[in-house]
Amino acid sequence: MKNPLIKRIPKELVAEWHKYAVIVIFMVLMIGVVSGMYVGHDSLMASINAGPEEFNLEDGCFELKKKASQELLDDLGKGEMADVRQYFIDKGIKEADGEVAKAIDDNLNEEVTQAIEDGVREQCKAYGITDEQMIKEQIDTALEDNLEDAIEEARKSEDFKKAVEDAYNEAHEEVIKAVDEEWDEIVKRYDLDEESFISVPITIYDHFYREEAEDNNNDGIKDATIRIFKSDSAIDKAAFNAGRAPETDTEIAIDRMHASNAGVEIGDTIRVGNKKFEIVGLLSYVNYLTLHESNTDLMFDSFGFDVAMLTPAGFDTLTSRVHYEYAYKYEEKTEDKIALADMGSRFLKSLITQTLVYDNEIEDFLPEYLRQASNFAPSDIDGDSTTTAVLCYILIAVIAFIFAITINNTIEKEASVIGTLRASGYSKGELIVHYMSMPVIVTLIGAALGNVLGYTAFRNLMVSLYYESYSLPPCGLVWSKTALIKTTIIPLILMFLINLIVIVKKLQLSPLRFLRHDLTTSKRSKARRIPAWSFMKRFRLRILFQNIPNYIVLVFGVIFIELMICFAFGLPDSLNNYADKASEMMFAEYQYMLMGSKDSDNEVIETSEETAERFSAKTLLYPRNNDVSKMRAFGSGKDESITVYGIADNSSYITLGAEGAYISSAFSKKYGLGAGDEISLHEEYENKSYSFDIAGVVDYEGGLAVFMDRNSFNERFDMDEDDFSGYFSRNEIKDIDEEYIATVITADDMAKVTVQLMHSFGAVIDVFKYVLVVLAAALIYLLAKIIIEKNEHSISMVKILGFLNGEIGSLYILPTAIVVIIFAVAGFAVGYSLMIYLFKVIMLQMDGYFMFYMKPESMVLSVVYLLIGYAFVSVIDYFRIKKIPMDVALKNVE
């Protein structure tokens, strides 16, 4: 016979549906959101990671000033370095030989002519001819008859031959000497002096593009710069988020993110250059996941920059100049960064030398691993998984709490049933299985629905967050093992264990104690003495004491909710605060990073700007795992970029103390470093590391940096004494050619990052706030429900005795209300402090640093939001108390 207790389960589910509904909603929201984050993250990463192969992502690209000859492309394909020295010598000798030959011819002609003239004059003198007119006629005749023969004869003489040889030798020696002098400089500049150069064979693809002005609304005003590639490109292809590739020369496909920002869609017509095109597709180029116009841009700009695709015929109808960009792929495949860097630098040598010998010029060179447009988004998305993990741990803790209190409550409510069943002969095992069934069923329902939402709505929400920022390809749904384990399996196991422990522990009590509802283990023989307040006050205090375990759970719940609310309010506040203070944070209004300290004529790049001050700088990496703080456990191992500055003596921008390395306050706060500590920084693409003893901390919140005096810097990093990397300036520098400027950093650039983040997260954060209010209300609802259920009998009793609903409400709701208010404030304080800590942990996983900040009004609202949630619950509670029938107290009479 089947265990008849099974029949109770559906009945209890129906009878207690609102309690279980709240638990299910709680679990669905929590599991759904976190699972959605994992699934969204995994789906996007799967799509991004599949991109390079599917869309044939380059390993790098270079742009030449003019179209490359087939011979140049063939030689570049072999990846060998050209013999530039020999090229220069050959070229020099060829030029020199021409000059020498011409000089010899001119000289010979002159000398032979003179000899003939002298001979004629001698003869005329012998014949007594003095008439100059006659003499000149004789000379002309003689020159006409004999010059060529005479020159020919002179050429045959040994003297002449020797003289010619000497002249050529001397010229050749001059050329070699001149080339060698120049060559040393070139070798040094491009580091070409490598005896054992290993060739880097590559496959080269044409990847020509044009840049035009884009006019989205056909008002004749340029809205953006659009970079157009051809639709038949075999490299760096595009994924289509909507529509298709252009098929006629009046059709165009443009970047989806830009289209969304510009407010244009498929079917619209935009003007590109002087021509109108109909948008037929919205795409995502595999090498433009973020719209960085230039690789040196600090932040991408999906408003002012666009990438597009035209048919080759459409491409030819445009009039702007063609950029001769060539993309390449290495024959040898590697993922290793150091190997990639090495291959990149070897190929660059091949490129520099080959373009020289083929008389072309490099306009741009960019290995793929350094390309911001394709690497920024994946690294950002990958970094976000830390936030998800932190949320996940909190989720597990909260679910555990909820189950602990609900199971305890169930056992207390069912005490007489359990006692009767045990007394009737039911075994502990049978009861454990019975009482485990309901939470298991509810959790399974919650987890199943949560996962369904996680894989659908929430996943789409998370994915759309990234789509709001980046030009990502469409992504399919990916099965996420992490999501299942972390959001479902672990909470299920945890719930199972918690229930099991609580039930097993409780069932150790004798059946009699269950029958007597005597489940407390307290040995207290007398009631707690309380002050001689008015009766109602003491009554409330008793209720408060009675529910201390529930209130303890409430504390954790409130802290959790406050933590989340602090995040929801604090993130935008922190971003805005950072943007507002960006200008104060900059130690120089303008920071010009130059491509090098010398221009193409090898002259030092100077400026007439009076406030300009030279500095040296270098980017190194700080290994996150070196962090010795408690946060270490969260470390992902990805290293942090640190800018090392060499600052001029008596700098007007940064004041350094005695000799040594100083770190920025942001660096100090992020990693808990200070004077006396030693840090070791290393190169990203080379096996070189440098250690520094920290002499002090410089107040600079704008970035993670190390400062030292410029002389020490240049010495440390093998730079010339006068070498420098850029200028700090209070005013804009206008007299340095743009081609020599790598980046300019201003407060606006720093703020751009936060503007972009706000654009991406703004709307979702608001939704998140409301979800939190619901979660807060759900949690308080569960706990308040338990408090009222526990006292249902007493409430019914006092009703019979004549207490009014208002009085009962003030007895059973007011203590909870007071507790909630106190906990909301205290929970906020704890949540706020925790958030500061968690923010640091999250920051540790990301590049850069900014402080967690909350506006005072946000702090107030954080508490108010929770109280609004509670206000709803207390209204429900009031009606719940009102609905408790008086016969509850009479039930056990007959």
Partner: protein, 235 residues
């Protein structure tokens, strides 16, 4: 001659519908005088508790009425009914129904709080012999002690009517007699009208008025002129 205080007129009450319909009260009529000790006797299912609940204003009849001092309960709103219970009634239950998180004194104060003319709480505690237990929680008391507290909570209100629903149903013989003596004291000392539901025939001897119920009607309605003190009861 005492005046009629509680009047029950043609009271009917049924539960369920159709075939499952069960008539619990099938036209009940009787009156109780002020200060009377009235016992409602009857076997299980006779309608005693339903009748008590209707008199207590926590259930309503299908027809007929209950009036207290001339005021009909059926004319009262929910709030007025609450006020009626608050001002006029004291309740003693078989299972005591004490508030578990209040100590003895506080449980008695629950009654005192509701009354406009409460008795002195300490005096009631002493009268009930609970002075050594007044700071204990209900679960630290024996059944008899809990029932004393329950009586204390009811009488401290100095109620016009003390409703006792099987007050000795869960107690042993000796304790039962002590409890009955206490109730008797209240009747004598404070003049409260007592309505006591019981199925213990022996208790009728201590009452002024004995109403026997069966199948939802009054079978006997007797005035007892020879009542004996609770202490002398035997069963």
């Amino acid at each position: 001659m005492k005046e009629d205080f509680l009047k029950i007129k043609d009271l009917k009450k049924s539960f369920g519908t159709g075939e499952a319909k069960q008539d619990v009260l099938r036209g009940m009529d009787f009156t109780v005088k002020k200060g009377e000790f009235c016992v409602l006797l009857g076997p299980s299912g006779s309608g005693k508790s339903t009748l008590l609940n209707i008199i207590g204003g926590i259930d309503t009849p299908d027809s007929g009425y209950v009036s207290i001092n001339g005021d009909k309960l059926e004319d009262m709103s929910e709030k007025q009914l609450t006020m009626y219970r608050r001002r006029h009634l004291g309740y003693v239950f078989q299972m005591y129904n004490l508030i578990p998180n209040l100590n003895v004194k506080e449980n008695i104060e629950v009654g005192a709080y509701l009354s406009e003319k409460p008795l002195d709480v300490e005096e009631v505690i002493n009268t009930l012999g609970l002075q050594d237990h007044k700071y204990k929680y209900p679960n630290q008391l024996s059944g008899g002690q809990q029932q004393r507290v329950s009586i204390g909570r009811a009488v401290v209100k100095n109620p016009d009517i003390l409703m006792c629903d099987e007050p000795t149903g869960a107690l042993d013989y000796k304790t039962s007699k002590e409890i009955l003596a206490l109730i008797e004291d209240c009747n004598n000392k404070f003049g409260s009208t007592i309505i006591m539901v019981t199925h213990n025939e022996a208790i009728k001897y201590m009452a002024d008025h004995v109403i026997k119920l069966r199948d939802g009607v009054v079978r006997h309605n007797d005035i007892n002129d020879k009542k004996i003190p609770a202490a002398e009861l035997e069963w």
